[in-house]
Symmetry: C2
Subunit: 355 residues, 2 copies
C-alpha cells in the first residue's frame, strides 16, 4: 500500500508491522477460529497478550519492581481526575506549561488546593518553566512531559522532595526515562503506543490505596492493581496493538534506539526550519519537542498554498491545533525518517518557488 | 476460514462481515493511505463514522428526539458510578436480580441512599423479581434488563412513576425496546455491538446536568452530550466496528428481524434442554434469556466429558461463569442458528452415548 506521510498529532501513525498483525488477528486470532475482538478477556489467549504487553513495558522502560503497569480506559482526561482523587489529600503542586497541564490543573482543583508553581502562559506556552522550587508541603508534584499543542518538552525533570506524577501521553517510549523517580506516569495510547481507548498507568505500588477515601470502584487505582487490569472487561484490541507496537519498538533498539532515530528526525526538521527563510519555529529552542514541532510561515497569507503543496506530496496532518493555528509536524516513533525528508523537501521547494 | 461456534459470554461473537471490513480498514481506511487507528478523531473521515454509528442506533432503536446517543469509555462498571453521580440526589430504587445489578447497587450506595425494592438472591438469582411497587420518593429506578451470569431477562419493564435507568449491556439490539420509557440506557459494547472498550449511553437530554454538583469532567454526562462524544479522544476503532455491526443488523431486518432469529435459537436450544433427560435449565422458565442460557448436566461428574465432546465439535465458550459453574450458552445476535444446531446435536449425541 502507498502509505501517507502521517504527521497527525494523535491518534497518529503506528508501525505497519503492528497494523498487519492486528488486522490478521481480527479475522482469526492464534488460529483459534475466532477473531481477537470475539475472545474472552479471561481466556488464556488474552491473558498471554496482557502479560506480554506488560512485560514489554517493563523491559523497555526498565520499570523497577516497586512499580506496576496498568491498562485502564478514559484517556489522560480521566487521569486528570483520578490522580487527585487518589493522591490529593490537602494540596498538590502543578506546573502550568500548556493546554494539557492546564486541564489537569482545572480538574485537580475540584478535589483540593492546587499550588501552581510556575506558568509559561505569559508567552503563549512557548517554553517550559524552569527554576521553580517544589514545596515539601504538597501531596504530589504534577508535570506534563510533552505539550502536544505547543511543541515543547521537559528535557530534565526537576528533583522533587515529594511524589512526582507525570503525564507522558505524547512522548512515552520516545526516550529513556528513569521510572524510579516517578510515583505515577500516565499516558493515553494514541500517540506512541496504539489506538485510542487505552490508557497506560505506571504506578508505584506503595502509593496505591493511601487515599483513605471511599472512591468509585473504577476510579481507584487499587481496583486495577489488585485485579491486574482485569476488574472489568479491558479494551482487549487496544492492548493487543500496544503489544505489537512495543515488539516493533524492541526490534529497532528499544527506547534508546528510538531516541537516536527521533533525534535524526528532529535535527533534519529543525535544521530546515532554522535555515529556511520562509519558516519560523514557535517553541523556545531549548524546549523544542522531537514529538511535535510547531512552526509558522513568516507570511501567513501563504499558508493555504503551502498546505496544498504538502498535500500533493502525500503529507497529512500538519495543520496546527485549532487553538493555536500555524503548522505542526508530529513526528511520533512510527513516523519514518523518509517522511521527514519528504516534508523538508517540500519546504525547500516552497522556498525556491517563492524566492 | 473455519469459524468456531462461539458461545462466549462476552467479548463475544461478531458478524463476520463487520470483522472483514474492520480488518481492511486497519491497513487502509477509505483509501486514505492511513489505517483507521491512525486517523485523527477530528477528521472528516471519523466524523462520518461517528455520525453514521449514532444514526444507526437511533434508527434501529427508534430513539426519540428527546434522547441522545453517547459513546463513552469504562464499561458498565463505570456507569454503575456515573449514574448515581449524575442522578442520585437523595435516594434511588434498585432491583437486585443478579451479579451485575448487585454491583450497580454497591456502587450507588457510595453516593446516597439505595432502596432495594426486590431481590431474587433467595433463589440464587434464578428468576426475575416481579410485582414490586416503584416508590415516588426516589430519584430514579434502576433495572438490569438481562443478567448474563444467571441467564435471566426482564420480559416486561414495569411502569414507573420516576425516571428509569436500565443496564442493557447483554441484550441491547436483541429485541425492540420503547426507548421513550427510559431516561437512561447504558450498555457495554462487547456483547451485541462491537469490541470491548466502548460503552453506549442513550440519555434523555433534559435529565443531563440536573445534578447540581461539581463532577469530574469525564464523569458528567453533560460533557459528552455538549461535545457530541468528542470531548476527548474517543475509542475510534470500537465505534467503527459498532457502525459495521449495526449495518449488518439493519441488513437482516433490524431488531425486529433479529428478535425472530433469536427466538428461533432460543426455541431450538431450550426445546432440547427441556426434552433431553441429561440436562436441566437453571433459570425460571418465564424469565429465560435468549441471550444467555444457563444449564446443568443432571450428573455433574460427566461435565468434563460433555465439554470435551462440544470442543471436538468446534464449540467454544460454554463453560458457566466461574461464580456459578455448570454451562452457559450465550447466543448473541451474531451467533448463527447453525451454531445452536451444532450444540443441540452434541447434546443429543451425548444423551445417546450415555443412555
Amino acid at each position: 500500500m502507498n502509505r501517507k506521510h502521517n504527521f497527525g498529532a494523535g491518534p497518529g501513525i503506528l508501525p505497519e508491522s503492528a497494523l498487519q498483525k492486528a488486522a490478521a488477528d481480527i479475522l482469526n486470532f492464534n488460529n483459534s477460529g475466532m477473531g481477537v475482538l470475539e475472545i474472552s478477556h479471561r481466556s488464556k489467549d488474552f491473558e498471554a497478550v496482557l502479560q506480554k504487553a506488560k512485560s514489554l513495558v517493563k523491559e523497555l522502560l526498565k520499570v523497577p519492581d516497586t512499580h506496576e503497569v496498568l491498562f485502564v480506559q478514559g484517556g489522560a482526561s480521566t487521569q486528570f481526575a483520578m490522580v487527585p482523587m487518589n493522591l490529593l489529600k490537602k494540596k498538590a503542586a502543578y506546573i502550568d506549561e500548556g493546554a494539557w497541564s492546564n486541564k489537569a490543573i482545572k480538574e485537580a482543583k475540584l478535589f483540593g488546593e492546587v499550588s501552581v508553581l510556575a506558568s509559561s502562559k505569559d508567552k503563549n506556552y512557548s517554553y517550559m518553566p524552569k527554576g521553580y522550587t517544589i514545596p515539601t508541603d504538597c501531596d504530589y508534584f504534577h508535570i506534563t512531559s510533552n505539550e502536544t499543542i505547543h511543541g515543547t518538552q521537559v528535557k530534565e525533570f526537576p528533583a522533587s522532595p515529594i511524589p512526582v506524577v507525570c503525564d507522558m501521553s505524547s512522548d512515552i517510549f520516545s526516550r529513556p526515562v528513569d521510572v524510579s523517580k516517578f510515583d505515577l506516569i500516565y499516558a493515553g495510547a494514541q500517540k506512541n503506543m496504539g489506538p485510542s481507548g487505552v490508557t497506560m498507568v505506571i504506578i508505584k505500588k506503595d502509593i496505591v490505596g493511601t487515599h483513605g477515601k471511599t472512591l468509585p470502584t473504577m476510579l481507584d487505582y487499587k481496583t486495577h492493581l489488585e485485579n491486574d487490569s482485569l476488574y472489568n472487561t479491558p479494551p482487549v484490541f487496544g492492548i493487543l496493538v500496544i503489544m505489537y507496537t512495543l515488539e516493533w519498538l524492541k526490534s529497532i533498539g528499544g527506547v534508546e534506539g528510538m531516541q537516536k532515530i527521533n533525534q535524526q528526525k528532529f535535527d533534519l526538521f529543525y535544521g530546515e526550519v532554522d535555515s529556511n527563510p520562509m519558516f519560523v519555529g514557535t517553541a523556545a529552542k531549548e524546549d523544542r519537542s522531537p514529538m511535535n514541532a510547531c512552526f509558522l510561515l513568516n507570511d501567513s497569507s501563504l499558508d493555504e498554498e503551502f498546505l496544498a503543496m504538502t498535500k500533493a506530496a502525500g503529507i497529512i496532518g500538519i495543520k496546527g491545533h485549532r487553538s493555536v493555528g500555524g503548522f505542526r509536524a508530529s513526528m511520533y516513533n512510527a513516523l519514518p525518517l523518509d517522511s521527514v525528508k519528504a516534508l523538508v523537501q517540500v519546504m525547500k521547494e516552497f522556498a525556491n518557488v517563492k524566492a
